[in-house]
Amino acid sequence: MRDEHARAYWKANVRILTILMSIWFFISFVCGILLADFLDNFRFAGFKLGFWIAQQGSIYVFVLIILVYLVWMDRLDARYARDKKDAAEKRPTEDQA
């Protein structure tokens, strides 16, 4: 059950999660809380940047993170299915040889 494809799939999955969770942490905890006072020095329209990230921007980024995850995982799933199929087709010929 724990073949190389499964291992590769899980490794790729964990990599995706690490990247996306880092963005999640950065936008909410770093920009929205820790650096909010500093970012408030920048403005666009009527918003101070730190305030906007805390009350608006972070939520939009959260939505984007989940959407990217969705597309990324679909691709990863497809590649895993293809690899498994290829492997299944290859094996009988190897046996004959």
């Binding site: 999660l17 909010a36 009527g46 805390a54 009350q55 959260f62 993170i65 989940i66 799933d77």
Partner: protein, 557 residues
């Protein structure tokens, strides 16, 4: 037509809709009853999850909380949306792949132990129970204020409706009513917000409106700048500045995030879709639907604060608009003319302040304060009821499945037939409704306090146990159980100490590391994880079958 008549029309229409759906979607098997047959479309599940999630507190109280907290209010916004990222990335797909009915199912099977299952049942029931009492109370308040029936009648009407579709349809009935309830509540939230944004800034999109300039009738200038100045003139802090200690905001945000991801009534929604891919998809839909309300809320908060300050401050009492006296009778707003000049002075200085405002008024009375048409004012009641009832139903289902499935079928009476199990499920939901209704009518003082802490408890008990169960194959039952118990009791003890035993000492200098009881769930989560990993080292790894199961849930499909 008067607000009252419009309110009756909207409430009766929406309730008729819920009952219609209940009759159409009766549950025939335990599979229907627990997970709606596992065949819910991800879009429908996304809406249902959003309605399940957004409670009376989100609808009625959140914008008001933000308008009095200013920038710090962001911990509710980020906490209650950011938790969905955790849910979507770390939990939902794997739990769907696991493919059973409940959270205690997962904990019990993954940690190959009935004690772990019992701990999970205990946590699930206590978390859900505190939460559901708050919903019933919310429904009762809305009934009494908008329809002028007393709270008892209001709660009984609410209970009857929930009883009807939850007992008949189980998860199936709940899911499809929640879809309808989402539509009702989001419409009721957006329409007044759009109206007010247009009126005050000329921009129909509230999310942009609160960063725009005010129209000349409102005096021009950027809304948030005006709000900052106005607040400071009255002796309050500037609206867009943070007041709370940074580490406290950090910990509260994290506690709400971990808690969101650990709440059983949200997690079980992902058991209802057909596949892992659909679980991911419906998590995405859910967050989009939730984000619509959560990005509107801070705009509503700013508009409402501005309107309140403009209308009420330095107005003579006789000249105040009609809504003031309406809400005065409900005691949500009160005027105490200290210097007896007949003029309202609103101030950050307690010695001269004459106005007391309950935060809930910022949503409930917002359309009236802004002078919107009667039908818009009336929408709020239907929306608030949809929010309260949808969340209540989801929570009642968790309680009922915890009893009939986890406790009876899986632990105490494994021999019962499916028919008997279904009967027990319906019976336990019935009893749960009665108890919740009782506490809705006679709210013990602690309910409102404790609802916020349900998050801390969920964070400190479930979240680490589930995440470790998926991402750490070697985690054994001794580690997981001791972690859950340590996290739960540490968090509960801290909250009970500062909220009930010694509330007078609940100030920043007495808190550990400056963390308020609202944020302590984060520390509880860390303690849970640390204890689990430490204890894990002294006991053997889980059996091969369990490790294989973990491998299996990690794979697609």
């Amino acid at each position: 037509m008067s607000v009252q008549i419009w309110t009756y029309i909207f409430v009766v229409l929406s309730f008729g809709l819920y009952i219609g759906i209940a009759i159409w979607s009766r549950a025939k098997s335990t599979n229907d009853f627990y997970v709606a047959g596992g065949g819910v479309h991800p879009l429908a599940n996304g809406m249902a999850t959003a309605a399940d999630w957004m409670s009376a507190a989100s609808f009625i109280s959140m914008a008001g909380l933000i308008s009095f907290l200013g920038r710090d209010g962001a911990f509710y916004l980020m906490g209650w949306t950011g938790g969905y990222v955790l849910l979507a990335l770390l939990l939902a797909p794997y739990l769907r792949k696991f493919g059973k009915f409940t959270v205690p199912d997962f904990i019990g099977d993954r940690y190959y132990s009935n004690s772990a299952r019992l701990v999970a049942i205990f946590c699930a029931i206590s978390v859900s129970f505190v939460y559901v009492c708050g919903q019933m109370q919310g429904a009762g308040i809305v009934f009494s204020r908008f329809l002028e029936v007393d709270i008892t009648t209001g709660v009984i009407i609410g209970m009857t409706i929930v009883f009807f579709y939850a007992v008949m349809g189980g998860m199936k009935g709940i899911t499809y009513t929640q879809v309808a309830q989402y539509c009702v509540l989001i419409f009721a939230y957006l329409v007044p917000a759009i109206f007010i944004s247009l009126m005050m800034t000329g921009n129909p999109i509230p999310q942009l409106g609160f960063g725009s300039e005010l129209t000349p009738e409102y005096g021009g200038g950027y809304l948030l700048d005006r709000l900052d100045n106005l607040s400071m003139d009255l002796g309050f802090a500037a609206y867009t500045e943070g007041l709370r200690p940074t580490q406290d905001v950090f910990f509260i945000t994290a506690a709400l995030m971990f808690g969101t991801a650990g709440l059983p009534h949200v997690i079980i929604r992902f058991f209802t879709v057909p596949s892992v891919r659909d679980a991911r998809k419906s998590a995405a839909y859910a967050l989009v639907f939730i984000a619509i309300l959560y990005t509107t809320a801070p705009a509503v908060a700013a508009f409402a604060k501005m309107n309140l300050l403009n209308t009420v401050n330095n107005a003579t009492y006789e000249e105040l608009p009609g809504w003031f006296s309406t809400w005065e009778t409900t005691q949500l707003i009160s005027f105490d003319d200290i210097n007896a000049d007949g003029v309202v002075q609103y101030s950050g200085d307690a010695a001269v302040n004459e106005l007391t405002v309950n935060r809930d008024i910022m949503v409930l009375a917002n359309p009236e304060i802004a002078g919107l048409p009667n039908w818009v004012v009336a929408l709020v009641a239907a929306g608030a009821l949809a929010a309260a009832l949808s969340t209540a139903a989801g929570l009642l289902l968790v309680i009922s499945t915890a009893i009939s499935h986890d406790l009876l079928k899986r632990s105490l009476m494994p021999g019962i037939t499916e028919k008997q199990e279904l009967l027990y499920a319906r019976l336990s939901i019935f009893v749960a409704i009665l108890i919740a209704g009782y506490f809705g009518i006679n709210p013990p003082g602690f309910v409102a306090e404790v609802v916020a802490f349900a998050f801390g408890l969920a964070a400190a008990s479930f979240f680490p146990a589930i995440v470790l169960g998926i991402f750490y194959r070697g985690m054994n039952r001794q580690g997981a159980i001791s972690g859950m118990l340590a996290g739960f009791f540490f968090t509960a003890a801290y909250i009970v100490y500062f909220k009930f035993i010694s509330p007078e000492s609940s100030t920043a200098e007495h808190w550990w590391f400056g963390i308020s009881p609202e944020g302590i769930g984060t520390l509880g989560t860390f303690i849970n994880t640390a204890v689990a990993l430490t204890v894990n080292r002294f006991y053997p790894a889980p059996p091969k079958a369990v490790q294989d199961m973990v491998d299996e849930i990690r794979l697609p499909g």
